[in-house]
């Protein structure tokens, strides 16, 4: 049987299903092909933060602000409980040098329109119990929120299906059908699908799809390990990160020659509690290819770091660990939009550690670009051709 659609989306994670939902809403006939199942990639093994204040002031924060706005009505729109909660978030600051960097970071974020401030330790301790004595303070933003990423993924898929999209699970794309430099569809393990537009939303696997059409996509899998505790009464109110993580993320040179195992593994605190009461404790940032295993060393370093910052966690039991692959890009920004020289081939991948936060805005931007050739904000910095030689 030959299938036909207006648009084929490769990948059924949060990004692929968000794209499918916003395109279906605008009347396109969409087919999503997912190799395994929803939430089988990064979208099913990640933290749950829609954290705005971890974003670099600039396009990254602008995207997050737009997405954060969309989240406020998303559950109602999808008619599905995505366990969205707007409880704010804080970034823990351990010493004066981190404080200086965060003061500058916060000042620049405010200019872009984020509500964020710096708190002294005693005020931070009112918002989050169990904090370490040595902390000098924290940032706080009331705009941070969180969401259940698996339910988000399933919610987008269900809502897209209701609007007429077809989702083919256990259907792997094995090739792209081309006529000259025009895309005409995809080959899958369940037969071909014909469509004039193909969207690569394969997350950390996007480069494998790129290779099918001779593209060199600079996305790399970056493993994150996370620990899940038993359900406990409300303990972590909002999202909690550490400044150490932000400093390392945006100033990699500062830690390049460090001998600490935790730093080599890219450990940074990410703490939040699910609706069921489980606390998620993350995470590492490691380049180890496509290996999603968790390691004893990784888990130990995450827990050491977490209990150093929030000693109150020590008495809690953990029940599970998991590893997921963030789609890393060299400049930390996703690749969104049409690829030059390949008519109909569109990128929607490379969200690294922010794909949950950025899923709604990504879906909207891609739908706008497909329908109108432009969108509501300047997305030139996300142009997928920016890494091509000579560009």
């Amino acid at each position: 049987m030959t299938r036909k659609a207006d648009v084929v989306v490769i990948g059924g994670g949060v990004i692929g299903t968000a794209v499918a939902y916003y395109l279906s809403k605008r009347g396109k006939k969409v087919m999503v092909t997912e190799r395994y199942d929803h939430a089988s990639g990064a979208s099913g093994s990640c933290d749950q933060m829609i954290i705005l204040q971890s974003k670099n002031p600039g396009i990254h924060l602008k995207l997050a602000l737009a997405s954060g706005e969309m989240y406020q009505t998303l559950a109602r729109e999808l008619e599905y409980d995505i366990e969205y909660h707007n409880r704010g978030g804080m970034i823990l600051i351990e010493n004066e040098s981190e404080l200086k960097i965060m003061e500058d970071f916060v000042a620049r974020q405010k200019q872009i329109g984020l509500q964020v401030e710096i708190l002294e330790r005693k005020d931070a301790a009112k918002l989050q119990r169990g904090l370490a004595e040595h902390l000098v303070g924290s940032t706080y933003s009331p705009q941070d929120a969180h969401v259940n990423s698996i339910r988000l993924n399933l919610g987008f898929a269900r809502a897209a299906t209701k609007l007429g999209a077809e989702i083919l699970l256990e259907t792997e794309v094995t090739g792209i059908i081309l006529k000259g430099d025009q895309v005409e569809g995809v080959e899958t393990t369940q037969g071909p699908i014909h469509a004039p537009v193909v969207i690569n939303a394969a997350g950390a696997w996007a480069p494998q799809i790129g290779r099918m059409v001779g593209l060199d996509i600079p996305i790399k899998p970056r493993r994150g390990q996370i620990i899940i505790t038993e359900p406990v009464p409300p303990y972590v109110t909002g999202d909690v990160l550490s400044a150490q993580y932000i400093v390392a993320k945006y100033n990699p040179d500062l830690i390049k020659n460090s001998e600490s195992r935790a730093i080599q593994l890219g450990v940074g605190l990410a703490l939040s509690q699910t609706e069921k009461g489980n606390i998620l404790i993350g995470a590492t940032r490691e380049f180890v290819g496509y290996d999603v295993k968790t390691t004893r060393e990784g888990i130990k370093e995450i827990l050491k770091n977490a209990t150093r910052l929030v000693p109150g966690l020590k008495e809690i039991n953990f029940i599970r660990t998991m590893g997921g692959l963030r789609p890393y890009t060299p400049d930390g920004l996703p690749l969104l939009g049409p690829v030059k020289g390949l008519e109909g081939f569109i990128m929607a991948a490379g969200h690294e550690g922010d794909g949950i936060a950025l899923a709604p805005v990504t879906g909207k931007i891609i739908a706008d670009l497909v329908m109108d050739g432009k969108t509501f904000m300047d997305v030139e910095a996300l142009n997928p051709n920016r890494f091509a030689p000579g560009s």
Partner: protein, 91 residues
């Protein structure tokens, strides 16, 4: 089917009913992991030791038993206190 049979709990830790599992199968879940994602069955304290067999039985109509991929329950298989894990080699 009567209400009485629908209210059968398959996963007792997370209180997941037979009907919720059937719904997940209708939505495309073909593996234990797929069921777990859609319903939380098997994600509780016992990590699926009780419900795994029952759910495999419900999935058996969909797939060959050999194809029903076991879910990804990862270490620690038993619960561990964070302090014990962190301090284990610091003595």
């Amino acid at each position: 089917m009567s209400d009485a049979t629908d209210k059968v709990y398959i996963c007792r830790c997370e209180e997941v009913t037979k009907e919720e599992i059937e719904q997940a199968i209708r939505e495309g879940a073909t593996t234990l992991t797929g069921i777990k994602k859609r319903t939380h069955a098997g994600m509780g304290l016992c990590q699926g030791r009780t419900c795994r067999k029952l759910i495999s039985g419900m999935l058996a109509g969909k797939k060959e038993p050999a194809e029903i991929i076991p879910p990804t329950s990862r270490p620690p298989v038993r619960t561990a206190k964070i302090s014990e894990f962190v301090e284990e080699d610091e003595v």
